[in-house]
């Protein structure tokens, strides 16, 4: 087990290097630089600024310096926000996004699982279609529609919640639902198909079962196996939650990291883009590892690679 974990973490290093390099290349290819601004700066001034950030060096040297800094764990200063280091910005904003993501995941599971399981128990009956239909609403309404819609109903009209901010516990509710309902839909589908799969098998065995006890065990087992694809989905779900949090953070004015994913690319804030990309990559890798461990724990049969 630990061998496996160690090996996976080791494999993560080249992936991270590749992420950094790809980002570097893409950034340099995009036209426009971090210091282009509306009012033209005098060429000598411009030269000074670029020299300070090492942008006047030939590309390969910039790259080497970039990798060198990364190896020392230095993500560098933000090009857009003067006086701020990328690490500081990430340390400040990441906890917020992680909290939002976690809550959204909870919403996704709490809403999706019951819907999916219930639907599977009503297989081939109208209730199944209705339930899955409700679940699918989450997929069809993107966050920038769902968010304002929820706000219109629950904030403007009913006045139950603040329209934005991240100060009170109640501020978490609408954003978590806006972000989470999309994934709730997927989880509902997975739960349903997982349950259906298992019930096919167990069905045969229950035919032989006698008495309540075994049936209870069978049911518990059903749920456990149905959970399997859902757990597998959590990895990609987290990925989507973090990178998709941008929309929710903008609408609800949440000081998270999501906005930096987008704005730093627009600002050509080179170091910030790389910093957020690496943070995200690390998160994905760790999460996938976690999910794999949970899966292994759930079903020892999948221990082979």
């Amino acid at each position: 087990m630990f061998n496996h974990i160690a090996r996976r973490l080791l494999h993560a290093l080249p992936t991270l290097w590749l992420v950094a390099t790809l980002t570097f290349i893409l950034l340099r290819l995009a036209p426009g630089g971090p210091f282009d601004s509306e009012k033209q700066v005098h060429p000598t001034v411009r030269a000074q600024i670029e020299a300070h950030y090492g942008l006047d060096q030939p590309i390969y040297r910039q790259y080497l310096r970039f990798i060198g800094n990364l190896l020392q764990g230095d993500l560098g200063p933000s090009y857009k926000y003067e006086g701020w280091n990328v690490q500081e910005i990430i340390a400040q904003s990441a906890p917020v996004s992680l909290e939002l993501g976690a809550l959204a995941l909870v919403v996704a599971i709490v809403v999706g699982m019951p819907l999916g399981v219930l639907a599977s128990l009503r297989h081939h009956r109208p209730a199944e279609s209705i339930l899955m239909g409700i679940a699918m609403l989450g997929i069809c309404l993107p966050a920038f529609v769902l968010g304002p819609l929820l706000l219109l109903v629950f904030s403007s009209s009913l006045d139950w919640f603040n329209p934005l901010g991240w100060n009170y516990p109640s501020d978490r509710v609408l954003p978590a639902f806006t972000l989470g309902l999309f994934y709730a839909a997927y989880i509902a589908r997975l739960a349903r198909s997982g349950m259906l799969d298992v019930m096919q098998h167990e069905y045969i065995r229950t035919a032989r079962a006698k008495g309540l006890k075994e049936s209870v065990i069978v049911c518990r087992h059903t749920l456990r196996t149905a959970l399997y694809p859902v757990v597998a989905y959590i990895g990609p779900a987290v990925a989507g939650l973090i990178s998709g949090s941008f929309v929710v953070e903008t609408i609800f004015f949440i000081p998270g990291l999501g906005q930096f994913f987008v704005n730093s690319a627009f600002n050509r804030d080179y170091s910030m883009v790389v910093g957020t990309a690496l943070f995200y990559a690390l998160l994905i890798i760790l999460f996938n590892l976690l999910v794999d461990i949970i899966q292994m724990w759930m079903n020892p049969r999948t221990r082979n690679d």
Binding site: H11, T15, L18, L29, C140, S243, V247, V262, A277, A281
Partner: protein
């Protein structure tokens, strides 16, 4: 009951796998509904505009945003443009981008994954490591940088979106390819000296069609959704072309004052995504041997 199953099994043995799957698909009610909705919307978007007299770019500043009326079935927007025709034409663009980007994803993902899974060993490991790396990039960053680098034409938009979607395709295909490679008939073909590309084309690819079709159908709505998110950021389709993404973004901002700007495009958008997902689910159920 067991006797009935035996008869059914005997019957199904007589038909081919494809016909079998098709039968199951047709019995799936949700998939049928989805299919009809999708066909209806597609027809409307494709042919409908020819029958509508209003043009999509005729602005009428003095008129402004008006609720639905006899002349404008879906109302007008801020600039006095007819929402009905814009919704239909937006559908052309959105569904078109959906298909085009999916084709791009297929063209890149399938060969990539098939070869990686087939080759195995170092090649596979390296290829999938590369996929993992791109997968680990937040898609927003990739698409923003790609669209700014490649430019704003719609063709380049397909490429940018396709460049994000091919990864999942590649992963799925690689898994299938790897499993198929271990099949005895493939090994037999290899021993017999059949060249690799022949094996891939003749033996491996055809047997992966099932999952490929399923994921293709599921990728299209994902692309349509992605385009709408890009519009939120301002990077989707460019004016004067209009997509559902642009329309629902605009509508979402103004939904409490001009609800028709959101309702109609969102309805079309949601129904299409709904429909495509159910078709995809139906296909998956139909092609899944466990169901029989």
């Amino acid at each position: 009951m067991i006797k009935q199953k035996k008869v059914a099994a005997a019957n199904s043995a007589a038909t081919s796998l494809g016909q079998d799957a098709w039968q199951r698909l047709c019995q799936n009610r949700m998939a049928q509904i989805g299919g009809s909705i999708f066909i209806l919307i597609s027809l409307l978007c494709l042919i409908g505009p020819f029958f509508v007299s209003n043009t999509y770019d005729a602005t009428n500043l003095a008129y402004g945003a008006q609720a639905p009326s006899a002349e404008h079935w879906f109302g007008t927007d801020d600039l006095g443009r007819d929402v009905f025709i814009r919704t239909l034409l937006g559908g052309r663009i959105s569904i078109g981008v959906g298909f085009a980007a999916t084709v791009v994803a297929l063209l890149i993902g399938v060969p990539y994954g098939a070869i990686a899974g087939y080759a195995g060993g170092r090649t596979e490991a390296l290829s999938m490591r590369f996929v993992d790396a791109i997968y680990a990039l937040p898609f927003t960053i990739i698409v923003i940088l790609l669209t700014t680098w490649l430019g704003r034409s719609i063709v380049l938009l397909f490429l940018a979106i396709g460049a994000v979607e091919w990864l999942t395709m590649a992963r799925i295909v690689r898994g299938q390819s790897k499993a198929l490679r271990k099949q005895t008939y493939v090994e037999a073909a290899m021993i017999n000296g059949v060249p690799h590309h022949r094996i891939l084309l003749r033996h491996i690819l055809p047997n992966m069609l099932g999952p490929i079709i399923v994921y293709t159908t599921l990728t299209i709505p994902a692309v349509i959704l992605l385009e709408s998110i890009l519009s939120f950021v301002g990077l989707g389709v460019q004016p004067p072309m209009s997509s559902w993404g642009i329309l629902i973004n605009e509508g979402a901002m103004k939904m409490d004052i001009y609800p028709w700007l959101l309702i109609f495009p969102a309805l079309f958008f949601s129904l299409t995504i709904f429909a495509l997902n159910f078709i995809g689910d139906g296909l998956r159920d139909a092609l899944d041997p466990k169901e029989s």
